[in-house]
């Protein structure tokens, strides 16, 4: 028996062993509750409301900075939030909507139409990139597309200021330049974040819908004419 045991590999005969005596097993099982976790939970409940709001606002502002100077950083993707896109979308839709004082034939897009276009368009583009095999998650993509509307919102504000002055040919040229520049900026910023998550031979297929999306929004901004 001893010769057999030595020729077999180690622990081979372990299954044959039966425990006849009680081997005392004792110890202490406890989940270590990290003291810093408890402190964090308590601290965010007890902190003043101003701190909570400022923290979120600072996160949103940081992402705005990332959009304005697009580098290949993953901060936008890691901590996604939808506050920024909501803020930008509401601002843009408020500025683009047709006033109710005008006649019904005024074909300017209503608030709901702009809102729906932006969110529906973002959802469709996200679905498209996921169907093509992208590794980015649904809400991360929505977050990126929403934040990259920031240059176009800035262009809308500039256009409105320019239209306060005059609405002739020169203002049209200025608005055209501003909107074109911001459209290019938006597309470039969003592709800088989105393109990495796609397989290499499909990048063009993913970038084109983003291009179309910002083109349509830019078109709506450019053709905005103020109500009399």
């Amino acid at each position: 028996a001893d010769v057999e045991e030595s020729s077999k590999p180690l622990f081979a005969g372990l299954s044959d062993i039966s425990i006849s005596e009680d081997i005392p097993v004792e110890g202490d099982i406890s989940v270590p509750i990290g003291s810093q976790n408890a402190d964090n939970d308590l601290s965010t409940l007890d902190e003043p409301v101003k701190d909570t709001i400022m923290r979120d606002l600072r996160a949103v502002g940081q992402k705005f900075v990332h959009v304005m100077y697009p580098k290949k950083s993953s901060a936008l993707l890691r901590d996604w939030d939808l506050w920024g896109p909501l803020l930008l979308c509401v601002t843009l839709a408020l500025m683009l909507q047709g006033g109710s004082a005008d006649s019904e034939e005024d074909g300017r897009p209503q608030f709901a139409e702009v809102f729906v276009i932006i969110w529906f368009g973002s959802v469709i583009i996200t679905l498209n990139s996921k169907l093509l095999g992208g590794t980015i998650s649904f809400f991360q993509s929505l977050c990126v597309l929403g934040y990259c509307i920031l240059p176009l919102t800035v262009a809308m504000i500039v256009c409105r200021i320019v239209l306060l002055g005059s609405s002739g040919g020169i203002s049209f040229a200025v608005r055209l330049i501003v909107v074109t520049a911001s459209f290019g900026w938006s597309t470039f910023a969003s592709t800088a974040f989105l393109a990495d998550s796609q397989p290499a031979n499909r990048k063009a297929l993913v970038v084109y819908p983003v291009f179309l999306f910002y083109f349509v929004i830019g078109w709506m901004i450019l053709t905005f004419s103020p109500s009399r």
């Binding site: 034939e105 074909g107 300017r108 169907l131 031979n201 063009a204 179309l212 083109f215 905005f224």
Partner: protein, 286 residues
């Protein structure tokens, strides 16, 4: 021991790797024509082994249509493939069937969907711009971007791109039961052909901005001829074995629907422009 293991292995069939370009379309689509619409995912051809041959690589893993993976298979295209398909739908080459050469039993939905979306926005934008340029300088005309054009154009184009292939597929399947045709197409392939054939209209519609009636009609006619001939050449093999009357009826109805779409869009947009202008001038005078 080794011999009994060998007997249970799948044996490669030599003729599976020597298929011609027509045979896979034939055999797969004949089966698919018999089993109906959702045949793509239940088409378990019992071939495995070497995936490098193109025929075998077209065999997708089957997935039920309510899962995400089924739709992912429909978007399984690369950039250069989409580019080739668009070019192939614009330049009709006699003898080259679009389905056989470009689709090769791998139809995609990326092309049809985004070409239709681009066409919708192109129509809306060029319609707005052409009406703006036509009425420029007239003081009563206040330029407003007409948003209703987008919804109208979207309805027209998407229903054309989906309902006409559905009707055509139903008709072809019904005729296939009566006559033994060698070539039959699945629903997704017909949707794909129609979607890509609309791609020539995008540059034609952009040319509408130039306010020259002759140029507009010219661009529409050229686009019609090109995409119409691609459609006719694609569906000719599917109907040529039928009675000549049926064949001619199908071909002419395809062409007529295509013409109606192009002319209808153009006329509708111009009517809307005129109506807008009249209403605006009336409103301003009050």
């Amino acid at each position: 021991m080794a011999r009994s293991d060998f007997q249970f292995q799948f044996q490669e069939f030599d003729d599976a790797t020597t298929v011609t370009i027509d045979d896979p379309v034939k055999s797969r689509n004949q089966r698919s024509a018999e089993t109906g619409f959702l045949e793509d995912e239940t088409d378990n051809v019992t071939l495995n082994g070497d995936d490098k041959t193109e025929f075998l690589s077209d065999q997708r893993k089957s997935a039920p249509f309510w899962t995400f993976e089924y739709y992912q298979m429909l978007f399984d295209v690369d950039s250069h493939q989409v580019k080739n398909r668009i070019v192939g739908s614009v330049l009709p080459w006699p003898g080259k069937n679009f389905v056989e050469v470009y689709l090769r039993s791998k139809p995609d939905l990326y092309g049809p969907f985004w070409i239709c979306a681009t066409l919708v926005f192109a129509i809306a934008i060029s319609g707005n711009m052409s009406s703006f340029l036509k009425h420029q300088g007239q003081p009563e005309y206040k330029y407003v971007p007409d948003f209703r054009k987008v919804t109208m154009a979207a309805t027209a184009i998407y229903s054309y791109a989906w309902l006409v292939p559905l009707a055509l597929w139903c008709f072809l399947t019904w005729r296939n039961r009566k006559t033994t045709s060698l070539v039959s197409y699945s629903f997704l392939q017909i949707v794909c052909v129609y979607g890509y054939s609309l791609s020539i209209y995008i540059p034609a519609v952009i040319l509408w901005i130039i306010p020259s009636e002759g140029l507009r009609w010219c661009s529409i006619v050229v686009a019609l001829c090109l995409s119409g001939s691609v459609l006719v050449m694609t569906f000719w093999p599917a109907t040529r074995d039928d009675k000549p009357r049926i064949t001619i009826a199908v071909m002419t109805s395809i062409v007529i629907l295509h013409v109606l779409l192009a002319v209808g869009c153009k006329v509708r947009l111009e009517t809307l422009c005129v109506i807008n202008y009249c209403v605006h001038s009336l409103a301003v005078r009050h």
